[in-house]
Subunit: 307 residues, 2 copies
Amino acid sequence: MAERESQIVLGLDPDPGALWPPHGVAKEGGAAEVSRPAERAATAVLAHCRAVIDATAQAVVAVKLQLARFELLGAPGWAALAAVAAHARSLGLLVIADGKRGDIDVSAGAYAAALLGGADSPFGRLDGLGADLVTVNPLMGVDALAPFVAAARASGAGVLVLVRTSNPGAADVEDLNVEGGGAVWERIAVIVDRLGAAGVGAAGLSDVGAVVGATEPGHLARARELMPCATFLLPGVGAQGGRVEDLAAAFAPGRAGGLVTASRSIAGAYLASGGTPEGAARAEAERLRESAWEISGEGVDRRPLAL
Amino acid sequence: MAERESQIVLGLDPDPGALWPPHGVAKEGGAAEVSRPAERAATAVLAHCRAVIDATAQAVVAVKLQLARFELLGAPGWAALAAVAAHARSLGLLVIADGKRGDIDVSAGAYAAALLGGADSPFGRLDGLGADLVTVNPLMGVDALAPFVAAARASGAGVLVLVRTSNPGAADVEDLNVEGGGAVWERIAVIVDRLGAAGVGAAGLSDVGAVVGATEPGHLARARELMPCATFLLPGVGAQGGRVEDLAAAFAPGRAGGLVTASRSIAGAYLASGGTPEGAARAEAERLRESAWEISGEGVDRRPLAL
């Protein structure tokens, strides 16, 4: 982050109906196959993700891959996901697997192996996606989170726990007030802080972070109070209405305390601003980078930046 | 369920280290490929799942596929998942995609299309997995559930919302007491009941059901009170310690009100009882079928069975 002076995460959420560059939809091959539409879509999705990454790589520190879009493409989608992650890594970017998985211990362990460092098997080593960070859902409690934390520590990665999400429905469950004080999301924040205590590095940041929506900046200061060492992933800027200018509280532990993620507002910037998709995406990513870097410099605590 | 006199769901949670029939691990092909271990594992997982299904199909009404195990095998895993689902359907079994997905609206829609009925795209129709039921995570609220309900209604399928899970960590968040009364899981139960109101069929059961762990039978009666029309998926029997004999409350709306799911206790029955894996799995599935059918006949309400 220090080297690139950026806290921006490029969200890749590829809608098969809104891809660029042009992908030759009409071109048909020889024999008809059941899987052909998914294979063609996966090829176009991979080309799109590579193009958006290439356009914005200088302004961002990470890519966030929305697993739902790849899952819709079945086996070819999973292959495209791995290829997108490899391309991002080749440009020095971190990879965030945004799958929001959560399950009982043995299944959480399988998800963690799939998205992080893989697992041994009688068939040989099963490769994981090799993500640097993975989003997880805490509804099922600590024993559903612990396998992700363990797998992340074993592979030098980190975990981002959903704490207070950016969607309107976050109010339905996450905002319920609990007897004895605090909302459900604040209780989850306490779990995050405790799980992360053993993983705090030299810069004061932990390997267990939190997803805190940028759409409700009023929650950010309280979230920071409850999770002083957590890196915050801040979704909701752009298409969902959040503004970089409202995120200063996230950066209280230092400039590495917040990752600002934007998806449709970068890949679809040309729809609003005109110009080429590549140029508009680059300009929007750079605009976000500059805003966030400036805001993050106003934090009250200036500990060193190194993770 | 009436035809087979069964409410048993065969959970398929294939551990690559505990597969049967014997799968020839040592057999090596020609050229070495990066993906070979995952491909070999996926081939063995598919053979295992087919064998367990074939052994137990007469005693069960559905298979529940734990998506984490297939995700760990990458693209070959996703292909194996689709093949297992097709095999189960060919024997007249329902397919439950146990992915516990949950995300903002546009992503929830993509997951729903992936696991249920697919989606149109500029590349042609993208096939979904074609599941009959899909498990979903309600932490992010109603707008994260609604796309699953809409997709399920469009394809004649159903949704099973995590309400009170079977793992010990369920106490951490789901059991928090909310100001004004009730635990978090009871508030989620109210959401399930409301979402399902528009999908209640002639037998009094809705297309929005609930996952209620069999490990805490004390919660079942309360869950049934809050969700009178929901089909309950009841995990936790066997390896997690739950007992069929404690599940009578689930069947209050009729024998179709509960689906009893068991995974490791069926596929691994031979480890405890001896005999062949196939024979032991068949015997354990039949034992569970008989117990559940008997218990479910003791319910207080005997509405017709047809869904």
